[in-house]
Symmetry: C2
Subunit: 460 residues, 2 copies
């Protein structure tokens, strides 16, 4: 017995398999255009998020075909579940008047997130097709600074005056269509936030209770100019499901819900992840040419790194004749420094993102990383130096390699900690620092230290 009337049926097997089967049947239906009715039926039986997932797995041509087929009954919610690059691809298949027609049914924050993806001319045109007061509203909202509470919030918010009784609030809820909500917010006569009632507490109240008596006062409201990282921190700290957004006079102007925050948190960690790997944003759905170009900037920095390294080797080439196996051991110090530097930077970037690392404990953290580098640097310096001695039977070679490894790992520990902290202080993205900047310095230092030490030890 299945309880499902709509959506995928996961009782058929493991999740990924059910989705794969669905994609396969969709692909077959798209191949033969006479299957129109079956296609319509398949799509009608699915949730927007499911359709979005299937669309992501089609090839570009098939996706185009599928969207054009659904066009007349296209649910704008599908757009919300597409990755940004695919969303743009799909939006471009609609002309502006069609687009504003389908957007009409979305909640305000969702409309805004789609409008923001359009270029200026396009969204101006899309807005013209909205009713005037809506159009004015969106224009004003689009002017709010991005990545703040005011751009993340949804304007549809349920608020009730504190002198109302529970029954009055209930009757109001019953008589108006409201989007899903999780907390009841209570305000004074000027719309100023006073307190809130969790819905699971609210249902237990007696009809004659006054809202002002049952509400909790010690609840956090989010000022409209708060940045995303402050909002996510707040939601995590208090395990919030929804929170009111207030203006300078403490008046409620919107609400932020946990699903928005979840997306922000995940996007942020994923972005850091991408930056650490030398990618600006996931290019999974991008074309080959766009992907190639997008990855070039980091590779060009690697070119600079490589050229600088070559210059360092070139500088010493004239004075040093690379005897006694020095040439064989040359890349080691750079590799050790590079990897230990990335380790330190990874911890620093993550701790900055979770707000565990801040000005209060930065000196302690730096000091700890220096100690760690000293410890591991000495250990590996002695180990690798020992290996070199066994190989080349020359204590000077061992000293050169061991010293270069130790000092470069020490530098890597300091730079891996300081670079992200400095960049964060300058309001940059610390995750961008670690890759190119760090690797370049550890490479140049690694070769420089190794060859410089060789010069001094072998020449004198």
């Amino acid at each position: 017995m299945s309880v499902r009337s709509k959506g995928l049926d996961f009782s058929e097997g493991r999740l990924v398999q059910v989705l794969s089967n669905k994609i396969a049947s969709l692909q077959i239906l798209l191949e033969n255009s006479e299957n129109g009715q079956a296609l319509t039926q398949l799509i009608k039986g699915l949730y927007p998020s499911e359709i979005a997932y299937l669309l992501q797995h089609l090839e570009e041509e098939q996706r185009r075909k599928c969207v054009l087929w659904m066009k007349s009954q296209f649910d704008a919610e599908i757009l919300l579940f597409l990755s940004p690059s695919l969303r743009k691809e799909v939006v471009d298949l609609f002309d502006i008047s069609e687009l504003s027609r389908i957007l009409m049914h979305l909640e305000s924050d969702d409309v805004l997130s789609i409008l923001r993806d359009l270029d200026a001319i396009h969204y101006q045109k899309a807005l013209n097709d909205f009713p005037p007061e809506k159009s004015r509203f969106f224009l004003e909202r689009l002017r709010y600074p991005q990545c703040t509470a005011s751009s993340l919030m949804q304007s549809e918010v349920l608020i009730f005056p504190d002198h109302w009784k529970v029954i009055q609030a209930l009757e109001h809820m019953r008589s108006y269509h409201t989007p899903r909500f999780y907390d009841v917010f209570v305000v004074d006569d000027e719309r100023r936030f006073l307190g809130s009632i969790e819905l699971s507490t609210f249902v237990k109240c007696q009809e004659e209770d006054l809202l002002s008596e049952v509400m909790t006062r010690s609840v956090h409201a989010i000022p409209m100019d708060w940045r995303q990282d402050e909002i996510t921190f707040m939601f995590r700290l208090y395990e919030l499901i929804s929170a009111p957004v207030i203006d300078k006079d403490a008046r409620i102007i919107g609400v932020i819900t946990v699903d928005d925050v979840m997306r922000v948190i995940e996007d942020k960690v994923a972005e850091d992840f991408m930056h650490l790997g030398g990618i600006h944003a996931s290019d999974f759905h991008k074309t080959v040419s766009k992907t190639s170009l997008g990855r070039l900037n980091w590779l060009l920095i690697t070119v600079i790194d490589a050229v600088l390294t070559s210059l360092v080797i070139h500088f010493f080439e004239k004075v040093l004749h690379f005897k006694q196996g020095l040439i064989v051991l040359m890349p080691i110090a750079a590799a050790m420094g590079g990897n230990s530097g990335i380790q330190a930077a990874t911890v620093a970037i993550r701790a900055l993102a979770t707000k565990e690392l801040n000005t209060l404990n930065s000196v302690r953290f730096l000091w700890k990383e220096v100690s760690v580098s000293c410890f591991n640097g000495s250990l590996l310096g002695v180990g690798l130096g020992g290996l070199a001695f066994l190989w080349f039977k020359d204590i000077r070679v061992a000293l050169v390699l061991g010293g270069a490894v130790l000092f470069n790992m020490l530098w890597a520990g300091i730079a891996g900690t300081l670079f992200p902290m400095i960049i964060a202080r300058l309001s940059g993205d610390p995750a961008l620092s670690s890759g190119p900047l760090l690797t370049t310095t550890t490479d140049v230092f690694g070769y420089g230290l190794f060859l410089g030490l060789s010069y001094f030890i072998f020449k004198f």
Copy 2:
């Protein structure tokens, strides 16, 4: 006018500043032991999550002092907000009977998550202090496989028979204490899941409505053996706030809520991030010695990488006399390959985590990455070869460098895509693959290709 009766007051300034000020006052109070009363007052006025945040920012000695001070009125919820390593540190300050006493007040899933952190002897002892039926319950739950729905869920769940009326459900809610909930789950007489009602829909129902009439049937329940990644995928796909967990007979045995899922999602991305940076788990709060040892394994792989590279250079050293600036250009191909490989691996790891990459599109993805590598490899190969020609005025040098860069980047693109996919297929963690494994192969290939090409071009 402040609406706050408890917790930090963020109207005083920016979030981080408010927290910093609080940490500073806490530190001052801890310095002087005669401030006992002021300290108690400060702590009493804060939420458990706020106390946890402050504890994370104290030095170990101060933290110990602070926890011992709070011991008699210690709220176990504080433990839930501490990072795992700190949680262990704090738990160790309590003896077992104190621990079971404070754990008594938590919800079942929270008790379990703390018990799981203890070693076998300790949690056995802690369980002995619970009432027998609770102890049996936890023992059984601890046997459920980790990282599945059954270990993530909370057993306290509100369910109502489908023949009940709304008023009956309301009366039941009013007469029993229930933890916060977001959906009302409806079951048949055998406790089998039939459907659910969002709380914001439920409040609008009339008292005489039958639950079976107002519930939504097409709602997803989570089988108890589902893995974390399937659960998070489900929550994202349907923007769920809570979902019932069912056993093999579709009977509801618990509920998973969005806050648990949010933590899982964030932990997973953060874990991938750490692995990409060559760290097993954030060691931000660990001691120098533990941090050093924890980072050694990846550094030891780097040592193997370095030794292999040296052997490659050594192999060619005898036959090649490194003239014409070859020595200067030697590290370039390895660096280019390493970084472009990490780029490809980063995209693959992330796409695997979000289930965007799967068996259906893996060939297409591999093909795209090969094309990207060809494009960027040709571009940079020609560019770097050109630079080498300008520098050394020798077309052979240019050919060696250009060829080595192109072929190594090609290999890096293939390996960066294949390694994570293969490791995921073998049920390993793809993020662990990219760093060491990939870098070692691109280094060895980079030097090998450069020197091998030199040998062929200069010798023949």
